[in-house]
Symmetry: C2
Subunit: 349 residues, 2 copies
Amino acid sequence: MTNFWTETVKRLTPYVPGEQRSGAHITKLNTNENPYPPAPEVLQAIRGVEGDQLRRYPDPESVELRTTLAEYHGLSIDEVFVGNGSDEILALAFLAYFTNGKPLQFPDISYSFYPVYCDLYGIEQKLVELEPDYSLSLERFEANLGGIIFPNPNAPTASAVPADAVSRLLEKHTEQVLLVDEAYADFGGESVVGLIRQYPNLLVSHTFSKGRSLAGMRLGVAFGHPSLIEGLQRVKNSFNSYPVDALAQAAGVASIKAEDYYRQTLTSIMQTRQQAVSDLQNRGFEVLPSAANFVFAKAPDGNAEQVFRKLNDAGVLVRYWNKPRLDQWLRISIGTAAEMQALLSALDA
Amino acid sequence: MTNFWTETVKRLTPYVPGEQRSGAHITKLNTNENPYPPAPEVLQAIRGVEGDQLRRYPDPESVELRTTLAEYHGLSIDEVFVGNGSDEILALAFLAYFTNGKPLQFPDISYSFYPVYCDLYGIEQKLVELEPDYSLSLERFEANLGGIIFPNPNAPTASAVPADAVSRLLEKHTEQVLLVDEAYADFGGESVVGLIRQYPNLLVSHTFSKGRSLAGMRLGVAFGHPSLIEGLQRVKNSFNSYPVDALAQAAGVASIKAEDYYRQTLTSIMQTRQQAVSDLQNRGFEVLPSAANFVFAKAPDGNAEQVFRKLNDAGVLVRYWNKPRLDQWLRISIGTAAEMQALLSALDA
């Protein structure tokens, strides 16, 4: 720390991402990456890069990508916003919609970046407790107290709420923005993108990092009423005019068009998940129902930290939090069948 | 506008980037893009992309890229920060270092994104007037009043201040951060990166968009004392853990290593600039001395708006601002010799 740090810098508790260790003997099940590469068409789009695409600024409004996304979801382009990963979109959305002097409501167990954004912008937090079974009851949110955000499916618990429950909340909660973070909605959850025309205060964020295997490329999307999207554009254009580079725009378009490949890899991951749940249960783990590309599993006798360390020593990376209500659990990403086998072998050893 | 916009969104006046029109008959001299493609090694690095680079998160700390940059500049990695374009770095630096309740000082004519960031974060602005000849006198900044930022070379005037003048300012100004925005320093200006070890409050930003022909890729750098860099890391890790994608990291490394190519294209641009200055002067333009990849030129009889429109109709894009002290001038990027010829032909027609 120095004299030059402002109070803003001093008060921060930055987010800590999962370790990015890699190597031949590492089984990486700690950051919910997709075990399959992106569609061949995506690699083609990138490999076909020309010098002109790089020396010129990208389209600051990402028109082709937003149009492709709009058509895919049956929306118009002014209902679609794109950013440099969905974390950037959340960062912009917090600034745009949650700096209203009212407390922001989110689950006490959810994406650990939410409290970090609150610190960054000085937003008061109102935590909403998960049920004893780690499910999220939307009835616990107070309508119109302040903004609301939650992941659906939730992380790290993997559990999802149905779209009609979100609808019921939106019928009551009409005065502030409700942001549904659907980073993991590709793996069996119900998306509420279809509800944005009904509820002008509903913002929905998606990512290309999970279902679409593009974590390395940084690409996220938000859907909402044109005026909500316009507000995001205003903040984006006051922060960085060109957040999405030319290759990410091209890769995003190619990814959306590669629908068959995408369906196929999602199906594989959901099948592997089903097998992983029963394999873990057979080894004494309690596994929460998962609608995501990871499972949240309570270690036998709650010895999660010990299991985490032993797996780590064996080169199998999973995620562990030494925090109340989480410290007996592990979050395990769904890899390929071979990667899950490596996990099971390490557990058995 | 809607009920859901916070005061933050309402008070913004977003930045407006130059038009990204393109096509066979367009000569694009309006956004200071490099007319030459990036080095062949950069294209190779991108075309060699593998699925694993994309499905996995990039290195959140960009260690290889920062190490390469540190070696190139004779620094250590903890003196180097990278971001999703230098605009993002400025956005993070304003939040980290200029939200101290004191007015931020910058030239009244300079990069038009600075006042936008001030609006975004509610920072008071103290404008420092350029001299009648549009040069910047660093003596005009008040030492220790508040933070200071200026571009060197300045934009859109293209004029540069020498490094020893920056040194003299830093001898007096010791209590707040001084940010020198060296986006255009590759084209003949004097960089002050070498001064960061002498002055712990000096932050210097660079971009890969201009000299290194990577505007489409979004990559910027900041240099400073390790504690200044740590402050930027804290803000970055409270905003977006992975702002620089895997391909931008690889492209950046390849670019820094392609030193010969880089020197060669810079030399070409500076030669073309010299010719462009005399060609414009021969046509009655007043041209300010330029140390950048653009020139700032006063139209004959000050009819800049008319010249701008006629050039635009002829498919030659340059930049014009209808603002006091700027409205008789055009900012013209230095293109290839052929592009400059297209400009001259359009002017003559």
